[in-house]
Symmetry: C2
Subunit: 206 residues, 2 copies
C-alpha cells in the first residue's frame, strides 16, 4: 500500500513481540479511523487484535500511549523519500504520497482522528509533532540537494520547504469538502518550488 | 479586538433577541475554547450566559446546532478585507489577520476545537466549510483586482490563492509547536504571491 505510512501489520521482521505490537497497532488504527480517540478502548483493541487484555494494558497502559506508539510506528514504517534528480520531481513525489495517504479512507480518517485528539491532549500533540518532524527529516535532503545543485538560494530553510508542500493538502482535508485530487498535490509542489526559487524560504526572511 | 472573527458579544445592533444570541454564543465559544465540543453542554452555556435554559434548548436544540450558529455569527462579524493597492500588501494583511486570530489564546483554542469537532461530525464540518467559504469570498476580490491590474495571469483561481495564504498557518497550528509568529504570516503571503505570479494557480493547471 503506497501511502506515506504503510499499514501497521504489513510484512516486517520480528518475533512474537513484534507480531503482537503490529496486531495491536493495526487494531488501534482501525478503531481510531472508525470512531476517533474518544472511542479507543484498550479492551476492545485487545479483542480485535486477538491479544490478551493484560498484555495490552501492561504494554500500552492508556489510549494516549497507544496512539503515541502508533504514531512512532507509522513514522518507522514510512516510505523513504523519492529521488528524481530535480526539486520539482522530488516535491511532486512527496505531495502525491501525502495526497494518497490523506485521500485513502482509512488513513485519512486516522490522520483526522489523531489531529483532532492532538488539539486537546498534550501527549498526543507531542507524538504527532514528532511524527511530522521525522517525515520532514526524511524528505529535507531533497531540498538540500537542490540548494547544492544551485536550484535554490543558499540559506533556504529546507525543512520549511518540505512543510509548505503538505500544508495546502492538510488545509483542504480539514477545512473544505473539495476533493484531494492529484492536481491539488501537483499544485502544492509547484507553488512551493516557485516560492522557494523566489527566495521566500531563506532564513534571513525571518 | 482585531482578529479575523470579532468576539461574539461585541457591540452590534439589535434588541433583546440579538443580545441573548450574543451572550449565548459568547458563552458557547468560551466553553468550546476551554473543553472542546465534548464538553459543550447547553445547560452550562445557559448558566454562563445568564439566559434561561428553555430559551437555549428551544432556540439551539443541540450542541452541534449551537456550534453551527456560532460559526455563522463568526463569519457575519468578521472584519472586512483590507485594500492596500498591491497583492502582496493585501495578502500580507490577510495572513496577519489569520495569524492574530490563531495565535490568540481564546480564538486559537476555539478554532482547534471546531476543527476537531468537524472531523467527526458532518453538520459541524458543513458549518466550518461554510465559514471558510464566506471568508474566502470576502478576500478573493484582492486577487481579482491583482489580475485586473496585470499583477497576476488571467485565469488565476482567485479563491485558491486566498486559501494558499491560510494553509501554512493552520498547518503550523495543528501539526507543530513552532510559534505562529508574524514572520510565518509574511512568508505565507510572500510564498503565495510568488506562486501566483508564476502561474501555479491558473485554472488550466488543473
Amino acid at each position: 500500500m503506497a501511502t506515506e505510512s504503510t499499514d501497521p501489520g504489513s510484512v516486517r521482521p520480528g518475533g512474537r513481540t513484534a507480531r503482537v505490537r503490529a496486531a495491536v497497532l493495526r487494531a488501534a488504527g482501525d478503531a481510531l479511523a472508525e470512531g476517533g480517540l474518544a472511542h479507543l478502548d484498550l479492551a476492545e483493541v485487545a479483542r480485535r487484535a486477538e491479544v490478551g487484555r493484560t498484555t495490552v494494558y501492561r504494554r500500552w497502559g492508556s489510549p494516549t500511549q497507544l496512539v503515541a506508539d502508533l504514531l512512532a510506528d507509522m513514522a518507522e514504517q514510512s516510505l523513504p523519500r523519492t529521488e528524481t534528480g530535480t526539486l520539482l520531481g522530488d516535491l511532486r513525489a512527496n505531495a502525491r504520497l501525502v495526497r494518497r495517504t490523506l485521500a485513502d479512507p482509512r488513513q485519512g480518517a486516522l490522520f483526522k482522528a489523531v489531529i483532532a485528539a492532538a488539539t486537546c491532549d498534550d501527549q498526543t500533540a507531542a507524538a504527532l509533532h514528532r511524527f511530522y518532524e521525522i517525515r520532514v527529516d526524511a524528505w529535507q535532503p531533497c531540498v538540500q540537494q537542490a540548494v547544492e545543485r544551485g536550484e535554490l538560494p543558499e540559506g533556504t530553510d529546507t525543512r520549511e520547504v518540505v512543510r509548505a508542500v503538505s500544508a495546502p493538502l492538510y488545509y483542504r482535508l480539514l477545512t473544505s469538502d473539495a476533493p484531494l485530487d492529484e492536481a491539488a498535490a501537483d499544485r502544492a509542489a509547484e507553488a512551493t518550488v516557485a516560492a522557494a526559487r523566489a527566495g521566500v524560504f531563506t532564513r534571513s526572511a525571518e
